[in-house]
């Protein structure tokens, strides 16, 4: 599938994020000459926390794993372009797994993990020749505060990460020039990921996308805290 780069908004020190900035970024894309608004998109990321088990109820059975054994940084993702799949990521163990979307109901039944935080990435999609751009905000479920601004850049003709690197870098440069012209208080960053650590190949797959979102979240949390 086509290569994608995920970028998130890094505000300048002291500046805040607001929907005004998102609107300006959208305007920037629309002014890119030939960009056509295509529709909406939404990706959902869930951060799970393990459910603490009651020790008395398991006295008779084999020793149940204590909460300390269960991985803590367990993420689940629904991608907008793969609605039938659900992706699990364990960051510290460097594991990524693709499952059917029905696994979520399975998780509910198992009750081993509970959703701690649910984040929605949603916004508009634009077609710009061979590029597809998705600009959107990151909001927490049931809350309205803007947690972050993201942009997905997809180059349709290429599937190899290696071969598309120069093209994508050039695109990011062109894009940054356009953003600078608007003198917005911040810029977009793309985090360079080592996909090989997670056992992923050069051919781009939805797992790569899931990983980019997971890494992005970490960055966003860091930004929010600072």
């Amino acid at each position: 599938m086509p290569v994608k780069w995920l970028m998130h908004w890094q505000p300048n020190s002291g500046a805040t994020m607001s929907s005004q900035i998102l609107a300006e970024v959208c305007q920037c894309v629309e002014g890119f000459g030939g960009a056509a608004k295509d529709g909406r998109w939404r990706t959902t990321l869930t951060i799970y926390r393990p459910v603490a088990r009651d020790p008395s109820s398991t006295a008779s059975s084999a020793p149940a794993p204590t909460p300390g054994d269960l991985p803590r940084d367990f993420l689940g993702l629904t991608l907008h372009d793969r609605p039938g799949a659900y992706f699990f990521i364990l960051r510290h163990h460097r594991l990524i797994l693709q499952a059917d979307a029905n696994v979520q109901s399975l998780m509910d039944k198992l009750q081993s993990y509970k959703a701690r935080v649910v984040l929605h990435f949603e916004g508009f999609q634009y077609q710009l020749g061979d590029f597809q751009l998705r600009v959107g905000k990151c909001v927490q479920s049931h809350a309205d505060t803007l947690r972050g601004i993201m942009m997905e850049v997809e180059y349709l003709p290429l599937c190899s990460i290696d071969k598309s690197r120069q093209i994508m870098e050039d695109f990011v440069d062109i894009w940054q020039d356009a953003v600078i012209k608007k003198s917005l208080p911040g810029h977009f960053i793309n985090v360079e990921l080592n996909f090989a650590d997670y056992g992923l190949q050069d051919q781009y797959t939805p797992q790569h996308t899931a990983l980019q979102y997971a890494t992005c979240i970490v960055q966003l949390m860091a930004t929010v805290r600072s």
């Binding site: 030939g34 020749g129 061979d130 599937c159 190899s160 071969k163 062109i174 190949q201 051919q203």
Partner: protein, 429 residues
């Protein structure tokens, strides 16, 4: 119903002299064809008449302009009147043509896929039907079928239509009958360099298809080259589509697709070499180029098209167009390069073309030789594109300098072929 048909046939007959051979299967309409088809044919003949009128009108306008240019003041008024008269009649012709076009669109004869196909020489390209036959309009084969003809007759009609067109529009292609020695009449007028060219032709014998492909494999280890019979290619094209839809992260499947269930060159099967009609050039993760040969087994390329490596579908053939803008523009430029190679030296055209195609392995990494950048926004097209134009004149001069010394030397390395953005192209060929 019958008067319609008679009117159509008489119209066709009357225009037979000035008509292009696209209408050659029109005599099959004598037996009750469907009414819409007859209407469509009549409209097409009318459109052809209007186009002929437009051509004549253009000549007359030119004539009037010449007159106005070297005439004295007294007759300048006459010239101006003439020009105005021609202009109004041309406008009327164009309006008629537009109306006819709209009617044809409504009746489904002209559709999007036909319109979007670029005419690189201003000629109407023949249509490739799903089973590989090439005819002017796919629905004309339906006509031939309803005339009660058998499959053999239908094929014969289709082949006749195509060879007529080919003879008329591609006179420099070898006919099946001609042998190697007949470099003769058709090509002599293409020899702009006269004596030197004929000497060169004596030095380099016409290489066989397998030799050309072997040389190419040595020179470009990155590229994977396969040959197919025409129908086999169509089967493979639909295989490509089914794998592109699914998650293509399966390296095993990739191997199966690219492995010799197809006629891999270097095999002992001599018969296959004679029937190779499609060459597939795959540079993994960069592009897939499809070249069609006519006649099968020869070394005469007659069409080329570029696609993305994960693109699949029935449009993946030498006359199809990619869904991606970048490959569409490369294909458009490739049409011109092919025409150039064929015109300049028919013997070397295939190897020149294939080497030029392989130079595109740097399509997404080589910067433009003029502006030094890779990705640039083309203002007129409103598209971000890498340099999609690769120079084809350079290939020619380097090969000619090599052949006088040693015929088997490697010519210029493809990385030295300059690349340009569409807007940076120096010349417009």
């Amino acid at each position: 119903m019958m008067p319609q048909a008679q009117q159509t046939t008489s119209a066709v007959g009357a225009l037979a002299a000035s008509q292009d051979p696209l209408e050659s299967a029109g005599d099959a309409t004598a037996e009750a064809p469907p009414k819409q088809v007859a209407l469509a044919m009549e409209r097409l003949t009318r459109a052809a008449r209007v186009i002929a009128d437009i051509r004549l009108g253009a000549d007359r306008v030119l004539e009037a302009l010449f007159m106005a240019a070297d005439t004295r003041d007294q007759s300048s008024n006459k010239a101006i009147e003439f020009i105005i008269k021609e202009e109004t009649s041309m406008r009327q012709h164009f309006q008629d043509l537009r109306a006819l076009g709209r009617q044809l669109e409504d009746s489904g004869v002209l559709n999007g896929s036909l319109k979007s196909r670029g005419n690189s020489w201003g000629l109407h390209m023949p249509l490739v039907c799903p089973d590989g036959a090439v005819v002017a309009y796919a629905w004309k084969r339906q006509l031939a079928g309803q005339a009660g003809a058998s499959a053999v007759d239908r094929t014969r009609l289709a082949l006749k239509a195509f060879t007529d067109q080919k003879r008329r529009f591609f006179p420099h292609l070898d006919d099946e009958v001609s042998s190697d020695g007949e470099i003769g009449t058709a090509k002599k007028r293409l020899n702009s360099q006269g004596l030197i060219m004929s000497q060169r032709e004596e030095l380099t014998e016409k290489k066989s298809l397998s030799d050309i492909l072997k040389d190419l494999e040595h020179e470009f280890p990155n590229a994977r080259i396969f040959t197919y019979q025409r129908l086999d290619w169509l089967k493979r094209a639909s295989l490509l589509s089914s794998s592109a839809i699914e998650n293509s992260a399966d390296p095993l499947k990739e191997q199966i697709l690219n492995h010799p269930s197809n006629t891999r060159f270097g095999s002992v099967n001599v018969a296959a070499a004679d029937q190779a009609a499609v060459i597939e050039l795959l540079v993994p993760s960069v592009f897939r180029a499809v070249v069609s040969l006519h006649p099968a087994g020869s070394t005469n390329p007659d069409a080329v098209s570029f696609f993305a490596t994960d693109e699949g579908g029935n449009h993946i053939h030498a006359r199809g167009l990619s869904v991606h803008h970048v490959f569409r523009h490369v294909t458009e430029h490739a049409d011109k390069a092919l025409q150039y190679f064929v015109c300049v030296d028919n013997n070397l055209s295939l190897s020149l073309l294939l080497r030029w195609i392989c130079s595109h392995q740097t399509l997404f990494s080589k910067t433009c030789s003029k502006c030094g950048r890779l990705l640039v926004m083309d203002k007129s097209l409103a598209l971000l594109l890498p340099p999609v134009h690769r120079a084809y004149q350079e290939t020619m001069s380097t090969i000619s300098s090599q052949t006088e010394s040693t015929p088997a030397t490697k010519a210029v390395h493809p990385d030295h072929i300059s690349a340009y953005h569409i807007g940076c192209s120096a010349d417009d060929c």
